[in-house]
């Protein structure tokens, strides 16, 4: 693997991304998606610490978009993109909306406040393993790709393949649940990591816009530290 544990931890403390990632990733630097939920990033860091996560790129609590994401997916990475648009300026949502539409054919709506009008249900993730997680007050609905998670009837998580990889869009942050040690959140992330790249990337786009998956290469272990970029 390209990334030592030391480098990994260094990256998590908001070091420049190029210190943590290998050369291919460095070419994508700088990432423009800032992190609006540091506790989400910390939650992913805690959950991933000590794990080998080849080909995984996580944008935890993202408050923007980076055009380099599409390239990483096409080259075979599984990119987990957790939107924190509800906790950022409106510009962040518009960036994500454009990026997801242009690069992955996904459509996102304005964040929905889940606690208006009574108690909402939990977030129900159903791929790769079912998990019921506590909501995080707001969710960004998503349409397109394969819906893999809902809050009630609201689709808030989707998987979309592109090239050799796939994008997992999470419209309701799960990093805080990872950080607090929620067993189902941890099990869900483990199940994602346990997926062979071909499985992680193999779904047919609902829009039919994406190519069929090809095996991803485990070229790097990565954890995007998008707080390094504002």
């Amino acid at each position: 693997m390209d990334l030592s544990r030391r480098s990994f931890l260094c990256a998590l403390s908001a070091a420049p991304l190029s210190r943590a990632l290998g050369a291919p990733v460095r070419r994508a630097h700088p990432f423009r998606a800032a992190c609006a939920l540091p506790e989400s990033r910390a939650g992913f860091a805690r959950a991933l610490a000590g794990r080998e996560t080849p080909g995984l790129l996580v944008f935890a609590g993202a408050a923007g978009w980076d055009d380099g994401i599409a390239g990483h997916v096409h080259r075979g990475r599984l990119v987990v993109f957790e939107s924190a648009a509800a906790f950022a300026e409106a510009r962040a949502l518009e960036e994500q909306r454009a990026g997801l539409r242009n690069a992955f054919g996904l459509t996102i709506e304005d964040p929905v406040a889940l606690w208006r009008g009574g108690r909402p249900p939990y977030v129900d993730l159903r791929w790769p393993a079912p998990a019921r997680l506590r909501d995080f007050s707001y969710a960004v609905p998503v349409h397109g790709g394969e819906s893999i998670g809902r809050v009630g009837a609201l689709p808030v998580a989707a998987r979309q393949r592109a090239g050799a990889g796939a994008l997992l869009f999470l419209g309701s942050p799960i990093g805080p649940a990872l950080g607090s040690g929620d067993p189902e959140a941890l099990a869900w992330l483990s199940s994602v990591l346990d997926q062979p790249p071909t499985t992680a990337a193999s779904n047919r786009s609902a829009a039919g816009a994406m190519d069929r998956a090809t095996p991803a290469t485990h070229s790097a272990t990565t954890m995007a530290v998008n707080t390094s970029i504002v």
Binding site: A36, E39, F87, W115, R119, R134, S137, P176, S180
Partner: protein
């Protein structure tokens, strides 16, 4: 012990000057200033204006017992939204700054608020982390952050031992307990909180509570001193045991409907009875 009462008790029409004069006339030693609760003391209030408040307080022969805030309920340090947490940090930092200007060494915060939406397991670590950061500022200013036990309203840190473990986790000599002896309701006994926390008590809010009656709508469980169920003799003895000889700050929720200034006199007289042990 010294007596104090909050400026949030002032009737709106009085303004600061008339309220301050009443506090002095009623026999208090000091005044608690509530950031965000009155027109004269907001986050935006300039240092110069705060210094002017202090001049008036000094001229009245009073002291500032502590600086509290009414903002934590809407902008809690435990919010899920980092922007709200930043607002909380801002107003608590301003409390610390104004405490220095006003010549007191204690502030009050309501540090974590559990709701259906924001669960306990999230509130705890966020609050610890937020206080650890603020403790650095407090330490530099030599101002203690007193976390109030609003047990029922916060739904957080319900027992004295739980509160102790929380303060252990924050692990700063600049963060302690602002004890409210009326807030414990039927979940415990204030004298036991006093014994457990002892030197960590920064200030004390006093009011009485009717523990047998739950809150019903706007009906309050709180009442004037000696009308409720608190065991004031036991509370006094516990203070004596742990050596607490600091400020007692009246925080009366139920207000007089008529002759509202009378509540200031009556409360001061009750505090005198408590302090002198005439119970």
């Amino acid at each position: 012990m010294q007596k104090s009462i909050g400026d949030n008790m002032f009737v709106k029409e009085w303004g600061f000057d008339k309220g301050l004069a009443l506090v002095k006339k009623a026999g208090y030693d000091g005044i608690e200033l509530w950031l965000g609760a009155t027109p004269w003391f907001q986050v935006e209030t300039t240092d110069a204006a705060v210094r002017e408040l202090r001049r008036k307080i000094d001229d009245a022969g009073l002291a500032v017992s502590n600086v509290s805030n009414s903002l934590d309920w809407d902008r809690p340090l435990s919010s899920r939204d980092p922007r709200v947490r930043a607002q909380a940090t801002t107003h608590i930092t301003r409390q610390i700054e104004t405490a220095q200007i006003l010549g007191t060494d204690a502030i009050l915060v309501v540090a974590g608020i559990v709701t259906e939406e924001t669960p306990y397991q999230e509130v705890y670590p966020r609050t610890v982390e937020g206080l650890q950061k603020l403790a650095e500022t407090a330490g530099r200013a030599r101002v203690k952050i007193g976390c109030e036990n609003c047990c029922s309203e916060q739904r957080f840190l319900m027992s004295p031992r739980e509160f102790k473990l929380f303060l252990d986790d924050v692990a700063s000599p600049w963060v302690g307990l602002h004890l409210d002896v009326g807030n414990i309701h039927d979940t415990g006994f204030p004298e036991q909180w006093i014994e457990i926390h002892g030197p960590r008590i920064t200030r004390v809010h006093v009011k009485d509570v009717m523990r047998h009656r739950g809150r019903c709508g706007s009906e309050s469980v709180y009442t004037n001193l000696f009308l409720g169920d608190n065991n004031w003799k036991a509370i006094r003895e516990a203070f004596h045991k742990v050596g607490y000889d600091g400020w007692l700050i009246a925080e009366m929720e139920a207000r007089y409907r008529h002759a509202q200034d009378q509540q200031f006199y009556d409360t001061a007289a009750a505090l005198d009875r408590f302090i002198t042990g005439q119970l």
